[in-house]
């Protein structure tokens, strides 16, 4: 008994020492970097341009307010991406020679929209579609932004879904079919539910990317958080408003990143057969 206690004490001490060392080295490294930056010859000027508290206080309310536009953009796009990405993934997973053209189309779609930079898709839709004369030219540009983000991120997400579908063992499908489920029922009730649960962490990862890419919609005239900061920046000749934008995204993204980590850790525990 005493030896086990001693070992526990030892382990605890060692963990504590490791944490202290990590904390110490972190402070030294970051402190050193900070000192290096603040003692650089141009620091005073950089500080005035990027960390002006008056400009910050002036910009923050309008920057935060215009973030509502980004929220609209990414919430709408995320819902559409979840549906459309799954649709593409299912098309790509359809077996049989009859569906070859469908598979080809889905593959070409995923390839093309992962290849084209998102900002170009936004530009092409935002300035191209109104020129066709098929839609009301007064359609708000934010609609084109949602459409472009959906097209781009559905391509990524369809690959994520596909990986999830492929990771479900064929025996699951075989078992379902042998119980009399049709191919579609097996996909719908057996394969996809398992697949989706597995791909939630990489999905969240893609959504973090999507949320940040909403600022690209500013290119077609939408005044969202980045464009609002740019307006403030140009009015004051000062870059501090961008720090406010960075802060908003950090506050939004870090909790989501931690949630993703927790979900991944939970999945690993489940896969290892430990307690869920």
């Amino acid at each position: 008994m005493t030896t086990i206690d001693a070992r526990r004490r030892h382990e605890r001490r060692r963990a504590l020492r490791a944490s202290a060392l990590a904390l110490g080295s972190t402070i030294v490294v970051f402190g050193g970097l900070i000192l290096l930056v603040v003692n650089s010859p141009g620091w005073a000027e950089v500080q005035r341009s990027f960390l002006d508290d008056r400009v910050f206080a002036d910009a923050l309310p309008s920057v935060v307010r215009s973030f509502a536009v980004n929220i609209q953009l990414f919430v709408a796009a995320e819902v559409l991406v979840l549906v459309f990405g799954l649709f593409i993934a299912v098309l790509r997973s359809l077996p049989g020679p009859v569906f070859f053209p469908v598979r080809i189309m889905a593959t070409v779609y995923a390839d093309i929209f992962r290849a084209i930079p998102g900002v170009l898709v936004i530009f092409l839709l935002g300035f191209g579609i109104p020129g066709l004369g098929l839609v009301d030219p007064k359609t708000p540009s934010i609609i084109y932004g949602v459409a472009a983000l959906t097209l781009v991120y559905s391509a990524y997400v369809s690959e994520v879904y596909r990986a999830g579908i492929d990771s479900v063992h064929p025996s699951q499908d075989a078992a379902a079919r042998s119980l009399g489920l049709s191919r579609w029922q097996s996909l719908r009730h057996v394969v996809i539910p398992q697949a989706i649960r597995r791909v939630i962490p990489p999905l969240l990862n893609d959504f973090i990317g999507l949320q940040k890419d909403t600022v690209l919609v500013s290119f077609i005239g939408v005044v969202e958080i980045f464009r609002q900061a740019q307006i403030k920046q140009a009015a004051a000749f000062n870059f501090t408003p961008y720090m406010a934008v960075a802060l908003v995204f950090v506050v939004l993204t870090i909790p989501l990143a931690r949630l993703t980590d927790v979900l991944i850790a939970r999945d690993r525990r489940r896969a290892a057969g430990g307690k869920a």
Binding site: G32, I34, N39, A44, F237
Partner: protein
């Protein structure tokens, strides 16, 4: 699992420490005091010496000796370096009559001394004693003209409108051009015959980001619809042509170029004057507290009093009076 938690805790503490340090330093006027009390040591050159030439030249008044060509502090010794953005748009910069291009300039060629800002640039250089060969042009995107750090230009001529807030970050010369903002719409638009600002209220207008054109929409037109704001005038023109927006606000010389060259079937409806809008003028951008600023100002004053600025404006921007002024 425990080690993961430990890492997370340490990471969180480190982030908090870093953020706290940055905030503490950010709210202080100088990083010097924090540097001396912090435990970690780092080779800190220049920790004690204060930022150079911050206010030394503030009091310097333009005098013939201070602005003598030999005593000027220049980015490239012996050369007067002028910055502007690329493409260099007409009528501020014009292409060469034989269409040849000077790398890297597009649309207009600043080096040919035709076009309003090109001519003003050479005229200022001339007043300071530089020959045409001693003038060099560099590409300076708008945001770079006031970004912190050393400048790669002596003066920047890029249709930058004077604003007091801007003058806190960079030196802005006295005005070399005084002009109004104007509204461009398509000829078949209901706005094409508008004569008052009141008639513009319920429409969507676009402008380039960071311009006083945007300010004109927000502060003078005050439309009920949110304005659209683009990176470039070209994107705004595209949106106007496609009917996404009802009109764009630009300065008059640019409006002239748009309606004559860039966008078919567009027209200038009117110009904005008074109505609380501060009288607009374009200023040259210089480094904050540049010793060159008083010299450039006296050059501009000389060009103004001898009538050169007006002559160049009427040579390159010859349409000002023809555009009606909006009523309230």
């Amino acid at each position: 699992m425990r080690s993961n938690l430990g890492t997370a805790v340490v990471g969180a503490i480190a982030i908090v420490v870093v953020v706290a340090l940055v905030i503490a330093l950010g709210s202080r006027s100088s990083g010097g005091t924090a540097a001396s009390s912090a435990p970690a040591t780092v080779a800190a050159s220049g920790a004690t010496s204060e930022s150079p030439s911050a206010s030394a030249s503030e009091a310097a008044s333009p005098s013939s000796t201070a602005c003598a060509k030999e005593s000027l502090t220049l980015v490239t010794p012996g050369k007067f370096t002028i910055g502007t953005d690329n493409p260099a748009y007409p009528p501020y910069f014009l292409e060469n009559p034989d269409k040849h291009k000077t790398e890297p300039w597009e649309l207009g060629d600043p080096t040919n001394a035709t076009g309003f800002e090109s001519a003003v640039g050479y005229a200022i250089a001339d007043k300071l004693g530089f020959t045409r060969d001693e003038v060099a042009w560099v590409v300076v995107p708008f945001a770079n003209s006031f970004a912190p750090g050393a400048k790669n230009f002596d003066i920047d001529l890029n249709q930058v409108s004077f604003k007091p807030e801007r003058a806190q970050t960079a030196d802005l010369s006295d005005g070399y051009y005084f002009g109004n903002q104007s509204l461009v719409v398509m000829k078949d638009s209901p706005l094409a015959s508008a004569t008052s600002i009141a008639a513009l209220k319920d429409h969507t207008f676009g402008a380039q980001v960071g311009t006083t054109s945007y300010d004109t929409i927000v502060n003078v037109i005050k439309p009920s619809k949110d304005p659209a704001v683009y990176d470039t005038n070209d994107a705004a023109i595209e949106a106007l042509g496609k009917g996404t927006i009802d009109g764009i606000v630009v300065d008059l010389p640019t409006a002239d170029f748009i309606t004559n060259v860039q966008l078919e079937n567009s027209k200038i409806v009117g110009q904005f004057e008074g109505a609380g809008a501060t009288p607009e003028h374009f200023s040259a951008v210089l480094a904050k507290s540049s010793p060159l600023t008083p010299c450039v100002n006296s050059a501009i004053a000389a060009l103004d009093s001898e009538g050169t600025l007006d002559a160049l404006a009427s040579q390159f921007l010859p349409f000002q009076d023809a555009v009606p002024v909006f009523g309230p």
